[in-house]
């Protein structure tokens, strides 16, 4: 699936936005969750297929120590989630990967869990880096409680009442994901080998099912502990249970992910841009059902933003986004009632609306509207998402001339060639991993002189490549060039393998002082994973909520078909 932007002026129809616009880090940071985000797409799949999730075993004592097993039945296959609960410890506790205190460790496996599976997970999971998963294990995971909110909820339920929504709304989850490992790590199954026919063969689906199980586990655990604590205990109100997602912390490692999986990034962003362009080109007018639906979704988003209690450091506040969306809602209301915008009719009114919105609204507000436009073409969006298939391997095209490669570089990497790599700040920062827990870090190069630089220096690499090309005969083949200049091999293979694609590489020098890591972390968390309410810390870390408002297993079993994202606060 290659998607290249075209110039809309030739047809008058809205076209794809160019890579030069979309791939700026600040633009990528503004992208909001949508139907194409992993969590939403996966939840919609479970709803469509009416997956059956049930508790098989919940042997946890009042000290929070024990094991639970869930059965997850997809239409063609059964999975099991095995979770080990542990008493919370404040020692060596942190949301960072270097933490050594986890309240839950779990495994997602294929098939029905046997005693041997449970025993193996019990023995191997705690070893983590020196442990080995069984051959049918998909994911190993860890999660921690939000201590205050979990305890408040536990106390409330044990006393026979519901927890305060005021308290819950400050974080919107009971437990937070602190690690999801799969795709071969610790001996887990390689995801590319699952194939498309596998129920979890799509992008990120094994991780996202596990995250959903973390959400379910957190709610089941708090109810279970409340029952052990008191005869008066009540379960969570289903509305509150839906409102609670699972927390997620993300940081610098996602920049490595983006650089290592450019095909995935390109296909995902390409699918998103293609659907948005198609939606902007819809010829809609007064009373059109699609416009009514869009207006309804914008109003849901406004409520969601108005009720958002999170504090953001650098990101646009939810109040500002809500105010912007009010303008969009007013315009959509006019379109819905009269078929006009500001009293005028247009061939592509949604495109006009977006272009006007871009002039006045914050980028995050614009991207919220664009994400909601995708909901107007749900089937097309789901089909495009299912087509995403992005192998990691790059290959060299050896017979190409360096003259031809140079032309590609000049056309597609002009931004990298233009970067000032001689500036004192161009290499100020180094990206590396710590020996402890392999934590991705970014620091002043002078502070960690021993660190091996793991960041992908696209700008410096492209400039060095072009300098060496310039010194060779233009008709030299890539094969002969790389024989003489083997240091360019990875970049040449990357450039050739991604040729003609618009959305694979963020246009930034990640080593520079000016680069803000959180921009790309947010692309992954918000846009690709589908995480809401991403609070930013020190321009490098995010805390957010996955499956905020997501249906419960009962809802999934019954095939719930309403809008579940952007949940309103439950009324008490």
């Amino acid at each position: 699936m290659t998607i290249a932007p075209h110039d809309p002026r030739h047809t008058g129809q809205p076209g794809l936005r160019p890579g030069a616009q979309v791939m700026r880090p600040e633009s990528l940071a503004a992208i909001q969750p949508s139907r194409l985000s992993g969590a939403r797409a996966f939840m919609n799949k479970m709803l469509r297929e009416r997956w059956d999730i049930s508790i098989e075993r919940f042997d946890v004592n009042v000290e929070s120590e024990g094991v639970c097993v869930y059965s997850i039945k997809a239409p063609t296959m059964e999975f099991s989630f095995i979770g080990f609960s542990r008493p919370p410890s404040r020692t060596a506790r942190t949301g960072r990967i270097i933490g050594q205190a986890w309240d839950m460790m779990g495994a997602l496996i294929e098939g029905r869990a046997t005693e041997a599976d449970i025993q193996s997970a019990r023995e191997e999971l705690p070893k983590l880096y020196t442990g080995r998963a069984t051959p049918h294990t998909l994911i190993w995971c860890r999660s921690n409680r939000s201590m205050r909110v979990f305890d408040q909820t536990l106390d409330a339920l044990a006393e026979g009442r519901q927890p305060s929504v005021d308290d819950l709304s400050k974080v919107c989850y009971l437990m937070r994901n602190t690690g999801l490992d799969g795709n071969g790590t610790f001996g887990t199954r390689s995801f590319p080998s699952l194939g498309r026919a596998h129920p979890l063969g799509g992008v990120l689906q094994a991780q996202l099912l596990t995250a959903y199980m973390m959400r379910e586990y957190s709610c089941d655990l708090v109810e279970h502990l409340a029952r052990l604590k008191s005869d008066k205990a009540v379960p969570l109100d289903p509305a509150i249970r839906r409102y609670l997602g699972v927390g997620n912390g993300s940081a610098l490692g996602l920049i490595f992910f983006i650089h290592r999986h450019p095909r995935l990034v390109d296909q995902w962003l390409g699918a998103r841009e293609a659907i948005i362009a198609k939606a902007r080109a819809l010829e809609v007018g007064a009373g059109h059902a699609r416009v009514r639906h869009l207006l309804e979704l914008v109003r849901i988003a406004i409520t969601f933003r108005k009720q958002d209690r999170m504090v953001y450091e650098a990101f646009t506040s939810s109040d500002e986004v809500a105010a912007d969306l009010e303008q969009a809602a007013a315009a959509l209301s006019e379109l819905c009632e009269n078929g006009t915008l500001d009293g005028q009719t247009h061939a592509y009114p949604l495109d006009v609306l977006v272009r006007r919105f871009e002039q006045t609204a914050k980028p995050e507000s614009v991207e919220t509207l664009l994400s909601l436009l995708i909901e107007m073409l749900p089937d097309e969006a789901d089909e495009m998402f299912a087509e995403i298939d992005a192998p990691d391997e790059f290959t060299v095209s050896p017979a190409e001339s360096i003259e031809s490669l140079a032309a590609t570089v000049r056309e597609e990497y002009d931004w990298a060639l233009a970067a000032d790599m001689t500036s004192p700040d161009a290499y100020k920062y180094v990206w590396y991993k710590s020996e402890t827990a392999e934590e991705p870090r970014r620091g002043d190069r002078e502070e960690v002189p021993e660190a091996l630089d793991l960041g992908l220096d696209i700008c410096g690499g492209v400039q060095a490549l072009m300098a060496d090309i310039a010194a060779e005969t233009p008709t030299t083949t890539i094969a002969r060039f790389l024989l003489k200049h083997p240091q360019h091999r990875y970049l040449v293979a990357r450039i050739q393998s991604l040729r003609g694609r618009a959305y694979h590489t963020p246009r930034a020098n990640i080593n520079a002082e000016a680069f803000i890591p959180i921009d790309l972390v947010r692309l992954m968390n918000c846009g690709i994973h589908g995480i809401d309410k991403t609070r930013d810390f020190l321009n490098r870390n995010l805390r957010g909520v996955l499956y905020h408002g997501a249906p419960t297993p009962d809802d999934i079993r019954s095939g719930y078909s309403g809008t579940w994202f952007y949940p309103a606060e439950p009324v008490q």
Partner: protein
Amino acid sequence: MTASSQDQFLRVMPREMRLMSERIFSMSGQPKGFFLAVQDMAMYSQKLGLGGFALLEERFESLRSARPEKAAVVSEQGSAMRFDGGGQHAWFVLPALIDLLGELVARFGEAEITVVNVIDPDELKIATGLGGRTGLAVTLENRATLQARSRPITSDISQDDPLLWDVLENGLRIEAGLWWRIYHLAKKALAPDSVVSRRHAGPMIVNPDGTVIGRKDNDDDTDISFLMKPRALEPQTESTNS
């Protein structure tokens, strides 16, 4: 000694094999643009019953002085070529050999390269596996002559690169002791932990006096003292206690 390392063999998947290879090669002094492109060598070698990770362990020190740019084409006539490996290890000249095979096949429809002066020439057989993904059917004769023809690329890994597909599906059985030595060798590529280094990640920065830079509402319930006293210990002693 962990329970796993007491087992004779481990099932190791491509992700970990590639990661360990990459880290070990990163310590060879080669530029990133080169070592990232040879991360599959040890895995393919292991799968083909060649030297594999034991050879990686054995050759690691000598790879530090590698100069892959010393390899050169000695002579060529039509689709036939003689290639001097410059005394380099086969793993470090294989990418160039596959390129040259591809270039010759593109020009002449076939290719034959006779390779001299490489370390561990048996490892040249890796080209028979790696060639598929670039559209080449490669054979090795007499530990020295690579022959190639064109084959269609289907974009289906199982068809284009059946060796990789098999490893993705089944992993490789590697002797446990060997694997853990590789694991610990690779760890040397990672930066030692320190208080300064710990300030380079995380939602808050802890100063030496225990004060904190950044908001504290991250909901992590962080043990500040833990961040101030880094321990170079991995969580190997944790237990689920259930």
